[in-house]
């Protein structure tokens, strides 16, 4: 039996591919075929396929965004055959919450992440400041301005700017949560005309203008990673997985100088961090559900963590999925950012992401089918504001119009 697995091309997934000998040794009658694609293409591919019932895949790598939507359409098989030793209860509750519907798990998390602040201890010291474990945006802005030294090619803060629902909008939506903003009110009325959003965007644009790198409007995760690794950023707020890259001396010139803190807040009760998990789901149409479940169980089970640890060391274990991992002293030793990561994850709640109530699920996204397109449109407008090509007010007005339009069309606004 051959099962076809669609995965995203990030390091952890690629590593899993290399380790599948272990799985095939245990399940000699199952062969694995891999389709590795970059994130956006992968999402298009699997969505087209599942929505048209193309039946090309037996296991799909999907994010927290897709799971609730697909589960609602009953496109995914509930994962109830993962085996006795799977220990679903061990999955970090915040993560599991985002992957479940009606109490059933529809996708098994392969790795999970939140976002937090990574900063340069040396530069912070030079600026005469000390980073608290839970900073406020005010502090961050102040520190960023103080750390900025354009002559030495050091920018106080690096943030995402590239347009896209999973790029700048992931960051900005999470950030807006901490400013008390929300995408929609309970009647699905878009909220970009509210002061909270104005505060968020104005703060972001001003901060980046004064303390951000040039070309920020086309920077995504990778660009910022490279900047930080080369010592060009004082702070960087991004995915928790980045910690293992910036602290890796092989790639990073600042590996020994990195400190971590929770994402900032404004004291309203929500922090500006997100929650995301790449998970393995099984499409409802597959003929090979049993084999697929076996694979999912293997790839997301505890055994896999041990396998990676034994082969490549604890630092390379996929993070963010299991509480037991964070209780493991060996892991804590190998990953100094472990605690901060777990705290970050736990401080996000996809079911109650914002200060004010909202009708949707998702921290840095809105789990409705229309969000990808709408998010990208809004992302484009916001990146234009960042690039200085339009004002913050215009960007917000544009976002509001586009949202009302889209939501009306989709029938949310009656």
């Amino acid at each position: 039996e051959t099962i076809t697995i669609a995965t995203v091309n990030n390091g952890d997934m690629v590593r899993m591919q290399k380790l599948t000998d272990d799985f095939t040794a245990k399940n000699p009658d199952i062969q694995l075929e891999w389709v590795t694609l970059e994130e956006n293409v992968l999402r298009e591919r699997v969505t087209t396929d599942i929505a048209t019932k193309g039946g090309q895949y037996d296991v799909m790598t999907i994010g927290t965004y897709e799971v609730p939507i697909w589960a609602k359409q009953q496109w995914l098989l509930p994962l109830d055959g993962l085996g006795a030793d799977y220990d679903a209860a061990d999955i970090i509750p915040a993560i599991a919450g985002g992957l479940s519907a009606d109490g059933k798990l529809y996708a098994a998390p392969f790795y999970g992440e939140s976002s937090f602040v990574m900063y340069r201890k040396d530069l912070m010291e030079k600026a005469g400041l000390t980073m608290p474990d839970a900073p406020t945006w005010e502090f961050i802005a102040d520190a960023a301005r103080k750390m900025t030294d354009r002559a030495a090619d050091i920018n106080g803060i690096c943030l995402r700017g590239k347009a896209g629902w999973g790029e700048n909008m992931a960051f900005l939506t999470a950030m807006s949560n901490s400013f008390g903003a929300r995408w929609f009110d309970e009647k699905w009325q878009p909220q970009f005309d509210q002061p909270e959003w104005k505060n968020t965007l104005q703060f972001y644009v001003d901060l980046m203008k004064e303390a951000g790198p040039s070309g920020a409007s086309s920077n995504g995760f990778n660009e910022n990673l490279a900047l930080f690794q080369q010592g060009k950023c004082g702070m960087w707020i991004d995915a928790t997985v980045a910690a293992s890259f910036v602290s890796n001396p092989k790639d990073s010139t600042v590996a020994d100088k990195v400190g971590y803190a929770l994402a900032p807040d404004t004291g309203l009760g929500k922090r500006g961090n997100w929650l995301w998990a790449w998970s393995l789901g099984i499409p409802a149409g597959t003929q090979k559900a049993e084999a697929a479940q076996k694979f999912v169980s293997w790839a997301t089970g505890k055994g896999y963590l041990d396998l990676v640890a034994s082969k490549e060391g604890w630092a390379n274990v996929p993070p963010g999925t299991r509480t037991s991992l964070y209780n493991n002293p060996e892991y804590q030793k190998a990953a100094p950012f472990a605690k901060m990561t777990l705290d970050s994850i736990n401080s996000a709640d996809p079911t109650k992401p914002t200060v004010k109530p909202v009708p949707y699920v998702g921290v840095q996204f809105v789990a409705i089918p229309e969000f990808q397109g709408l998010g990208t449109t809004v992302g484009q407008l916001f990146s234009a504001a960042l690039a200085g090509q339009s004002s913050v007010d215009d960007a917000l007005a544009g976002a509001q119009t586009a949202s009302v339009r889209e939501m009306t069309r989709a029938g949310y606004i009656k």
């Binding site: 076809t4 669609a6 995203v8 091309n9 990030n10 390091g11 690629v14 591919q17 290399k18 075929e33 891999w34 389709v35 590795t36 694609l37 970059e38 994130e39 293409v41 298009e44 591919r45 087209t48 396929d49 048209t52 019932k53 193309g54 039946g55 090309q56 895949y57 995504g220 995760f221 990778n222 990673l225 490279a226 690794q229 080369q230 995915a239 997985v241 980045a242 890259f245 092989k250 790639d251």
Partner: protein, 274 residues
């Protein structure tokens, strides 16, 4: 015009041409150079001297089976080209040697079929492919690319054929050749340069087609465009690896293009000569 060109002038042109050529080639050259760097080197600023490490290639090969993608690319590109020729040669023959008032319009219409944005028809096509069990099959993709490039093939062949004197075909007819004989023994061999360059262009276009080849395949039929899609923008540093993958993806067609450069130059004129 066979007057002596002074060596100084020639050197001048040589320098100018080389500078321009290297500028144009630079992005490719730099990609190749970068593929021999380590990841940290790759972002460490401008440098034309790589450390010569093969680690990126090793990683690329470890991550995916290059050869399988390569083979699919070859099969799909060559297959669709041959298929297109088989269909297009007779059509071009009719247009060139038995033109009617509507020949030009038909040609234009054929070209206009290329104007439908691919994204807009993805869902319909995906549904069709699903229902005909052609998803992720080489044959499906081959037919698809054949259809996409058919208009260009017909047009190119038509312009070549038009330059073949009709009298030669008439001579064959007088010599007792059937239509089949006429096309196989006379027309096709005579049009070999044109057909060759049409083939080349079509292979290049098919090789580089990156929308359908990714969207309609999963594992069995995925060509090098899908291979590239698995290397662009993952998390982490990836430029050296991306360069290595890019180099691997374009190398075969680049080398083929270099070797057949002369053919291509002759062929790409679409009868622009005369």
């Amino acid at each position: 015009m066979a007057r002596a060109v002074s060596t100084r002038r020639k050197i001048g042109f040589t320098v100018a041409a080389w500078v321009v050529a290297l500028l144009i080639f630079f992005p490719i050259l730099y990609t190749i150079i970068t593929s021999f760097k380590s990841e940290t080197e790759a972002i460490a600023g401008f440098s034309l001297v790589p450390s010569g490490t093969l680690e990126s290639y090793a990683e690329v090969q470890a991550q995916s089976n290059y050869f399988k993608f390569f083979l699919n690319s070859v099969i799909i590109a060559v297959g669709s080209t041959i298929l297109a020729l088989v269909v297009a040669v007779p059509a071009a023959w009719s247009m060139a040697f038995s033109p009617t008032k509507r020949t030009k319009d038909i040609l234009m219409w054929m070209l206009s079929t290329k104007m439908m944005p691919a994204v807009a028809v993805l869902v319909p096509i995906y549904l069709i492919f699903r229902d005909t069990y052609l998803l992720d099959t080489r044959i499906g993709l081959t037919v698809m690319l054949m259809l996409i490039n058919l208009p260009i093939v017909v047009w190119m062949l038509y312009t070549y054929f038009r330059e073949i004197p009709g009298e030669i075909l008439e001579a064959a007819r007088m010599d007792g050749a059937t239509l089949w004989g006429e096309i196989v023994y006379v027309l096709t061999p005579m049009a070999v340069p044109g057909i060759a360059s049409t083939m080349l262009l079509n292979i290049i276009l098919a090789w580089n087609e990156a929308f359908w080849t990714i969207r309609l395949t999963t594992t069995n039929a995925a060509p090098l465009t899908a291979f590239i899609a698995s290397f662009s923008s993952p998390q982490g540093l990836f430029w050296a690896k991306l360069s290595a993958a890019s180099t691997l993806a374009i190398a075969p067609i680049l080398i083929m293009g270099w070797f057949s450069q002369r053919q291509l130059v002759r062929g790409l004129t679409f009868g622009a000569v005369k």
